[in-house]
């Protein structure tokens, strides 16, 4: 299935994703139960992350989610705060070697729950309303993975956080009533605006910039959903956007693909932290 096929489906895109799987009734039930379990695991990691300020293994992160959650709402924007805090809660759990759901990777694990559960809780939606959108998120990730490896070491961060933001954007759009075309174009716009992002973790640890990046891209996904729900569409067809991202990934030098040797990892302070951690 291509993104064009998915966008052309009638009704919600998740129905087309499920139909494309060719599942028996039992397999379909097992998949939905599995997704319900994933949703529960995501919620658990958010709850643990929001209440913990235990430092990560390096000490670079660990208090960001709780710090934001406990802080006054400076922008009078509870949705923004909730989405950012949820996303960082998951990734700080990840940085502490806690239990999380990769979505699609561990380094980008906060984006989908941050956006989907964040918006859901903001609007006081029941978890049942989140289930099929989560299936759609998985479907979008599956289509992207047919064109490129979803890994920072092959495609840079765009492959990880870009995929997660695209998945989250489609899911939020469907959850808020968007049809298949709107959901797929939300994914494409999120992806298009992530192209070129490099993977440059300080010291090679999934902490800086990874934790705050999940907060930024969870919001990015929600922005994309807002545009798509208002009728905005990607001028470049969604499948071509994925091709473009894969092509940019191939152009990235190894230093910018999860080796910890380029970008902010390769700053004087980044190098000093890496050396301190190696000791």
């Amino acid at each position: 299935m291509t993104l064009a096929d998915l966008a052309a489906a009638r009704g919600p895109a998740s129905a087309a994703v499920l139909a494309d799987q060719g599942l028996s009734e039992g397999e379909r039930t097992a998949l939905l139960n599995g997704m319900r379990g994933r949703l529960g695991e995501m919620r658990d990691s958010i709850a643990r992350g929001l209440s913990s300020d235990a430092k990560s293994r390096t000490g670079m992160v660990g208090w960001n989610a709780k710090g934001l959650w406990d802080a006054p709402d400076a922008l009078s924007s509870p949705l923004l705060k909730r989405v950012q805090a949820y996303a960082m809660a998951v990734n700080e759990e990840n940085a502490r070697m806690g239990r999380i759901v990769a979505a699609p990777t561990a380094g980008s694990a906060g984006t989908v729950p941050g956006a989907l559960i964040g918006v859901g809780d903001h609007l006081d939606l029941d978890d049942d309303a989140l289930l099929l959108p989560l299936v759609l998120a998985a479907g979008i990730g599956e289509v992207i993975s047919k064109t490129m490896f979803i890994a920072g070491s092959t495609g840079g961060c765009q492959a990880e956080i870009g995929s997660s933001a695209a998945m989250a954007a489609a899911a939020v759009t469907e959850m808020l009533g968007g049809d298949a075309e709107a959901s797929v174009h939300a994914a494409a716009m999120a992806l298009m605006n992530t192209i070129g992002l490099v993977c440059d973790p300080v010291g090679g640890y999934v902490e800086v910039p990874c934790v705050s990046r999940n907060a930024f891209f969870a919001v990015h996904a929600v922005s994309s959903a807002q545009l798509a729900l208002a009728g905005l569409r990607s001028v470049i067809p969604p499948d071509e956007v994925v091709q473009a991202m894969a092509s940019v990934g191939r152009m990235l030098p190894p230093e910018l693909r999860e080796t910890g040797e380029g970008g902010i990892a390769d700053t004087p302070t980044g190098r000093r932290i890496a050396l301190e951690m190696a000791r």
Partner: protein
């Protein structure tokens, strides 16, 4: 790739490729070995070599060699667990050639039931999101992913061996998803990896092993769906050791 592999796995952080994937590769090596390893050597390549410590790749590899699934809460304590289990571990970095940046060579050693020292070498890559691919086993260029139960057979390269193996699998009413064969030389040692929709019965496996052309056999469970509650691994490991 199933939808639950995209939204998943449920895992201990911090990296699906460098932690969960590494754990799965070592778990595959343990199952292919078939004995309790007393020593494990990990040779890291590319991004694995550069960022192993930061991603807990070292801990995840050791945990996998001990039999842990990617969601096992003991992964952060894997070195202490190894010491308790009597598993000696060592790490090196090397260029494994033109392979995926997240690749590793895993050598496991240990005594079999009779006390004789055994060794197995597995090379594989972690492709992202926890998806893995083995590309070499004991020097044979075969492939399998751990997404399905996999039958590994070492045999003498003679006409009809592959047909006999697939016949036995068919008689067990098991469907073959993929089959890879490789040999060292014509008429010499050979290996096949048969990815199946489910594991063959222990009786069928024992029958295959008694054939003169077959020298070694393992049934490796689908580690992609393994979780720390242990139920999956316990039921899928049909241990057939000569």
């Amino acid at each position: 790739m199933s939808l639950l592999d995209v939204i998943g796995p449920v895992m201990v952080g911090p990296s699906s490729s460098h932690t969960a994937g590494a754990c799965r590769l070592a778990l595959l090596a343990r199952h292919a070995f078939g004995y309790e390893p007393s020593r494990a050597r990990f040779v890291l390549h590319g991004s694995f070599a550069k960022t192993a410590r930061g991603h807990g790749t070292d801990l995840a590899l050791v945990a996998g060699a001990l039999g842990a699934a990617p969601d096992d809460a003991r992964i952060p304590m894997a070195f202490a667990e190894a010491e308790r289990a009597g598993l000696a571990v060592s790490f090196e970095t090397a260029d494994l050639g033109d392979v995926h940046p997240n690749s590793v060579r895993i050598e496991v050693h240990g005594p079999d039931a009779a006390g004789a020292e055994r060794t197995l070498t597995l090379q594989g890559s972690s492709l992202g999101g926890g998806i893995v691919r083995v590309f070499e086993l004991d020097g044979f260029r075969i492939e399998f992913s751990g997404a399905a139960p996999t039958l590994l057979v070492r045999h003498v390269d003679t006409p009809g061996v592959i047909a006999r193996v697939t016949r036995v699998i068919a008689d067990d009413e098991v469907n073959v998803a993929a089959l890879y064969c490789a040999r060292k030389r014509r008429g010499g040692e050979a290996m096949m990896a048969v990815e199946c929709d489910r594991a063959i019965t222990p009786v069928a496996a024992a029958y295959l092993l008694h054939l003169s052309a077959i020298t070694w056999l393992r049934q490796v469970p689908a580690v992609m769906s393994a979780s720390s509650d242990g139920s999956h691994i316990a039921s899928a490991t049909a241990e057939v050791v000569p």
